[in-house]
Amino acid sequence: MAAIIEIKDLVKDYRLGEVPVHVLKGISFDIERGDFVSIMGPSGSGKSTLMNILGCLDKPTSGSYKLDGISVGNLNRDQLAEIRNKKIGFVFQLFNLLARTSAAENVELPLMYTDTPARERHERAMKALLAVGLAGQEFHQPSQLSGGQQQRVAIARALVNDPRIILADEPTGALDSRTSIEIMAIFQRLNREEGITMIVVTHDPDVASYSNRNIHFKDGKLQRDERIAQPREARKDLEQLPAAQPEEELASV
C-alpha cells in the first residue's frame, strides 16, 4: 500500500507576543492508504496542531506534508479549501452542524461548494444518511436528534463527497460510552468496506483500541508509534452490551 500521508521534519511555531512557541518539533511519519490510525497525547502535546495541518486548515512552519501525492505546503487559501473539499472529511467533537437546517441539508453542505447540480446533491446526501443509518430522519433538524444521531449526520456530511481520508477530532468526546462504540463501529465499517483512511484523535484509550495503529504524542514530539495486532471489534462489543434502544440503533450499524 502506498502512503496517503507523508510527513517529514514537520515543525510548527506560534508566535505569542515576542516569544515563539514550538508546538511541533520535527515530526516524521507516513500513514498508509486504508489504515485506521488513532492519535493520542495529553493536552498541549501538539496533536490538535498536527490535526489542523493534516486537515489542510493550517500550514507547517517548515518540513513537508504530502497528501495523496500533493505537496500541501505551497498551496494558497483557496487551493487548500479545494483539497479539504475533495479529499478530506471532518468529524468534530461538537458535531458542528448548522442549526435550523435539516439533516439532509447539513449533509449537502460540502457539495454546495462544488458544481454538483441540486438534484444530485440531494440524492448523494440521502445515500450518505442511509449509510450511517439515519434513513427516515433526513428532514429532522439537529435539535430534534440525539447526540449520537447528530454525530452520524456529521459523519454522513464527511462522507458525502467521497473523501480519501476522514479526520475525526475527539468524535466521541461528547457522547456516552454506548453511542461512542456505535460511532466507532461506523468508522470501522467505512474503513474496511469503503477503504477510507481513518485518523482519529482521542483522549480515550478505549476508542484508540478500535484502530489498527496508535501514535502517541508528547511535548510536540512523536513518543510512541505502535501497530495494534488485534484491534477490538466495535460491532461485537455492541452485541455484548445490554440493549438500550436495540432495534433501531443496532440495525443501522
Partner: protein, 411 residues
C-alpha cells in the same frame, strides 16, 4: 443566475432566523428610500407646477412698460406716464426681425354687470395678436377680429372667473353685459389658465377691443390719443430673446428721440427669464430635498453594516465549518454580500411602496402636487442595492478572511 437565486434563498433563511432584527435593519433602508421617493416627488411636482405657470403666461414673452421719466428732478415710477403708443407697437412689429408679434394693451379696473349680479374685475383692451402672444385659446365662442378692433365693436371675451361669477354655470356667449354703462355682447369665454407664476388669477379678466376700451370704457389719453399701457411682445424663439430686447431698445430710443447718455423712458422685461429663476430655485429645492433624504439612506446602510458585523461574529463557527468543508474565500464573501444586498433590496422594495403611498398622501392632504417618475423609483431601487453592496462588503470580507481554525474553535 440559478446560483444567485439559490444564495438569495439561503440568505432569506438566515434573515428569517432573526426576524425582528432583520426587520429593524430594513426599516433604516425603508425610511431612506421612502424619503428619497417622496421628497423627490414633492420637488418634481413643484417644478412641474412652476413650469406650467410659466407656460401659461405665454412663450418667449417680453413686456414693454411705459418708463420711468424724470421731469425736473421728480422721478416717476414705471408706468407713470404713457410714453408708448400704438405706432410704437406697429414699428416694433415691422422693424425688429427678432420679434414675432406685438400686442398693445390698456387696462383698468371695472365693474361688470349682468342682470342683477355684478363683479369687479380688470378690463383689458387688446388686439387679436394678444391671443397668440399669450398662448390663449377660447373655451367657447369666438375671439373678436381685427375688423372689430378697427370698428371699436362692443364685443367682450370673458375670463373663466368672470363668467362663473356673472353667469354661474350657463353659457354667456351672446348675452349682454354692462361695463361702465356701456353694453357689450359676450363673444366667448377664454380657456382657463389658472394662477400666474406671481400668484395672480389669470382668469379674472375681460378682454375688449383696445379701440373700444380707450374711447368708451377706460378713457383715452387726452394728450396722446394713440398712447397705450403696455406692449406685449413675442420673440421668434427662446434664443432670440436678448436680440429682440436689443432691437426694441434701439428702436424705441430712436423713436422717442432719447439722446445717448439719457435714461430710457420705457422698461423692457423678459418675463420668461424672471420666472425661469423661480423654476431653477424649485429645482435646487428638489435636489436639496433629495440630498437630505439620501442621508437617511446612508444611515440605513450603516445599520446594515452594523448588523452584518454582529451576524458575522455570531456565526463564526458556521463560517469555520463552511471553510473546513471547502468554502473558498469567494463563497463566504458572496454569501454575506448576498445577505446584505437581500436586506437592502427588500428594504428598497418596501421603501418604494411606502414612498409612493407617502407622496399620494402628501398630494391628497397637503394639496401639493407630487410627481414620482419611474426613473426616480428605478434610481431608488438601484441605489438601495448599491447601499447593500457598499455597506455589506466590509463585514463579508471580514467573514471570508477568518482563520478557519480560530473560527471552528470560536465559542
Amino acid at each position: 443566475m440559478n446560483k444567485l437565486i439559490a444564495s438569495m434563498k439561503i440568505a432569506l433563511r438566515a434573515l428569517k432566523v432573526n426576524r425582528t432584527r432583520s426587520a429593524l435593519t430594513m426599516l433604516g433602508i425603508i425610511i431612506g428610500v421612502a424619503a428619497v421617493i417622496a421628497m423627490v416627488g414633492v420637488g418634481a411636482g413643484a417644478t412641474t407646477r412652476i413650469q406650467q405657470q410659466i407656460q401659461s403666461i405665454g412663450s418667449n414673452l417680453i413686456i414693454v412698460l411705459p418708463g420711468s421719466i424724470s421731469s425736473n428732478g421728480v422721478r416717476l415710477g414705471s408706468g407713470g406716464v404713457s410714453s408708448l403708443t400704438e405706432d410704437d407697437a406697429k414699428a416694433i412689429a415691422a422693424e425688429c426681425p427678432s420679434v414675432a408679434a406685438v400686442a398693445p394693451t390698456v387696462r383698468g379696473g371695472v365693474q361688470v354687470v349682468f342682470g342683477n349680479s355684478n363683479w369687479a374685475t380688470t378690463a383689458q383692451g387688446v388686439t387679436p395678436e394678444y391671443m397668440t402672444i399669450r398662448d390663449s385659446t377660447m373655451m367657447s365662442g369666438e375671439f373678436f377680429t381685427a375688423q372689430d378692433v378697427d370698428a371699436a365693436a362692443k364685443s367682450a371675451v370673458l375670463g373663466e372667473t368672470v363668467a362663473q361669477n356673472l353667469f354661474g354655470g350657463s353659457d354667456p356667449t351672446g348675452q349682454v353685459v354692462i361695463i361702465k354703462n356701456v353694453p357689450f355682447t359676450v363673444a366667448g369665454v377664454l380657456t382657463p389658465k389658472g394662477q400666474s407664476p406671481s400668484g395672480q388669477d389669470q382668469d379674472d379678466v375681460i378682454l375688449i377691443p383696445i379701440s373700444t376700451a380707450k374711447q368708451k370704457v377706460l378713457g383715452g389719453n387726452r394728450a396722446n390719443a394713440k398712447a397705450v399701457g403696455t406692449l406685449m411682445v413675442q420673440a421668434i424663439g427662446p434664443q432670440a430673446m436678448d436680440q429682440a430686447l436689443q432691437e426694441m431698445t434701439a428702436l424705441l430710443r430712436e423713436r422717442h428721440r432719447i439722446l445717448p447718455g439719457l435714461e430710457d423712458d420705457f422698461t423692457i422685461r423678459n418675463l420668461t427669464e424672471v420666472f425661469a429663476a423661480q423654476e431653477t430655485s424649485a429645482q435646487v429645492m428638489s435636489i436639496l430635498l433629495g440630498a437630505i433624504a439620501s442621508v437617511s439612506l446612508i444611515v440605513g446602510g450603516i445599520g446594515i453594516m452594523n448588523i452584518m458585523l454582529v451576524s458575522v461574529t455570531e456565526r463564526t463557527r458556521e463560517i469555520g465549518l463552511r471553510q473546513a468543508v471547502g468554502a473558498k474565500t469567494r463563497d463566504i464573501l458572496s454569501q454575506f454580500l448576498v445577505e446584505a444586498v437581500t436586506l437592502s433590496l427588500l428594504g428598497g422594495i418596501v421603501g418604494i411602496l411606502v414612498g409612493l403611498t407617502a407622496s399620494l398622501l402628501i398630494s391628497h392632504f397637503a394639496q401639493w402636487s407630487t410627481e414620482v417618475s419611474p426613473l426616480s423609483v428605478l434610481m431608488a431601487f438601484v441605489f438601495s442595492a448599491l447601499v447593500g453592496v457598499f455597506f455589506g462588503y466590509y463585514p463579508a470580507r471580514k467573514a471570508a478572511f477568518l482563520d478557519p481554525i480560530e473560527a471552528l474553535r470560536y465559542e
